[in-house]
């Protein structure tokens, strides 16, 4: 059947189905995908679908339209893999994953987070329900509201209030830190340490949370130097 429709290749992956597109206009790719699904509704019923869109540049409206059309066919769009940073940003905005989760044993090497030089820079408030996952450092210029989550393999710095959940050093880096102007988080995690005892403060001051010499996750006022 794939031979009939070389524009889109469907294959099974660990987390569901992956649709990979050949080079074409987005409208053609989209139509080809929907055609495949309508062809075999029983096969796709209830499936979790990831898209590999290659270098295609997708805007929010494109993905929202496709997601609606897929959900009308009982197919859940959960990830969009793409080379274009615009597409990646769009997917993150819609809360879609941007890579397939796969075991990465070699990344478990005892590494400091800074070795991953990349940082994700977010210039808006993260609202409830938003989840950011990033294999490096994360900087937020805004608040992290209650119900939002950040999971970073490196450090997390928030220029604003933290009321949601933050996990730094998510792959086991115990040297990762979490800094914020107001750290009233519901829960903080660094590597495999969890802290849930952060009380909201009357007059918040900048704080930094890290794992101290005794091995406990602790936050202290930012007054170095």
């Amino acid at each position: 059947m794939d031979a009939m429709n070389p524009l889109v290749q469907i294959k099974g992956v660990r987390d569901g189905l992956l649709a990979a597109f050949a080079d074409a206009e987005w409208e053609e790719q989209r139509a080809a995908l929907l055609l495949q699904i309508d062809d075999r509704p029983a096969f796709f019923q209830g499936a979790r679908l990831a898209l590999d869109v290659g270098s295609q540049v997708l805007k929010v409206n494109d993905l929202v339209a496709l997601r609606d059309e897929l959900s009308e066919r009982s197919v859940v769009l959960w990830a969009v893999l793409g080379e274009s940073p615009v597409t990646e940003q769009t997917s993150q905005l819609l809360g879609l994953a941007t890579r397939l989760s796969k075991p990465q044993p070699e990344e478990q090497k005892h590494g400091d987070a800074a070795a991953e030089d990349s940082a994700l820079f977010i210039t808006k408030t993260l609202r409830s329900g938003k989840r950011i996952e990033f294999p490096g450092n994360v900087v937020v210029l805004g608040d992290v509201n209650a119900g939002a989550e950040i999971v970073a393999e490196g450090h997390v710095i928030v220029w604003g209030r933290v009321r949601g959940m933050i996990h730094a050093g998510a792959k086991g880096d115990r040297t990762a830190v979490i800094c914020a102007l107001d750290l009233s988080a519901t829960q903080l995690r660094i590597a495999d340490e969890v802290s849930a005892m952060l009380k909201p403060q009357k007059n918040p001051k900048p704080e930094v949370a890290r794992i101290n010499e005794e091995g406990y996750l602790q936050s202290e006022l930012w007054n170095e130097g």
């Binding site: 929202v64 609606d68 905005l93 609202r127 409830s128 509201n145 209650a146 119900g147």
Partner: protein
């Protein structure tokens, strides 16, 4: 004329979406506007009861979408305002009977006929909600001064931003100035501080709202009701008029602060 489509939504249930739709629509109609309300809560319809029109329903929105009747046949005229109409939801179907494209088509067909189309969204963030916001030109998010309601509103605001619907306006419903004064309730400042959106109105807790809803007579028609006054003011603001916020607390301290806060915008 071409109507502005306004969707009222909240995330959490029970915060006053349907009551707000009935009251805003009635207030706009009493200002001489032509208004069509659409109950988007397929399967759990309520707007007809609050507007006192339940015994007049013959056709509903799903009948229109599935071609069993003309749009005009499903538009129920209000008892008091000849320029106010309701398109009821189907009670015996569910959200899957309607798609976002159906809602857009319905609103496009209505637009030349009205000044305002007001859509009552169901609770939640699933399909019914997505359908309700799809045709919206403007979204009003309604919340109560409770932590759980505010968190759900925050989620909804995030989704609206992600879907490029723009930043919504906020209605803070059922505020009790006495509890706020005693620090037992979130204040309007607390809520605005967290949500960071434009405030279009604060409605005080008022038992006449419940009485009016049960009687099928929205409180905006009661000139003595405080909540009714608040809804009338919001309707004026929707029409682009600059109406000062009510002084709910006669002592003025907190409301003065609120006015300063909103005046600063």
């Amino acid at each position: 004329m071409t109507a502005q489509v306004i969707t009222v939504t909240s995330g959490k249930g029970g915060v006053g979406k349907t009551t707000a739709v009935a009251n805003l629509a009635t207030a706009l109609a009493s200002d001489g506007r032509k208004v069509v309300c659409i109950d988007g809560d397929i399967g759990l319809r309520n707007l007809d009861v609050i507007m006192g029109l339940e015994n007049r329903i013959v056709y509903d929105m799903v009948d229109v979408i599935e071609g069993r009747c003309k749009l005009k046949q499903a538009m129920i005229r209000d008892k008091h305002y000849p320029e106010l109409y309701l398109i009821p939801a189907a009670q015996t179907r569910d959200k899957n009977a309607v798609s976002a494209a159906d809602m857009r088509r319905l609103c496009n067909e209505l637009k030349p006929e009205a000044d305002y189309i007001i859509i009552d969204s169901p609770a939640g963030i699933e399909r019914g909600f997505k359908n309700a916001i799809a045709p919206a030109d403007r979204v009003l998010v309604i919340t109560n001064p409770e932590v759980s309601a505010v968190r759900d509103a925050d989620r909804v605001v995030g989704i609206l931003e992600a879907e490029e619907k723009g930043s919504p306006s906020l209605i803070l419903n059922r505020l009790n100035p006495v509890l706020v004064k005693n620090n037992d309730m979130l204040s309007a400042e607390d809520v605005l501080d967290l949500l960071g959106v434009h405030l279009i109105g604060v409605v005080p807790e008022d038992e006449t709202v419940i009485i009016g809803s049960n009687r099928g007579a929205p409180v905006v028609t009661d000139p003595k009701s405080r909540a009714g006054q608040a809804f009338r003011n919001i309707a004026k603001r929707i029409q682009g008029q600059d109406v000062p916020f009510m002084d709910l607390d006669q002592q003025g301290g907190f409301w003065g602060a609120l006015q300063r806060l909103t005046g600063r915008k």
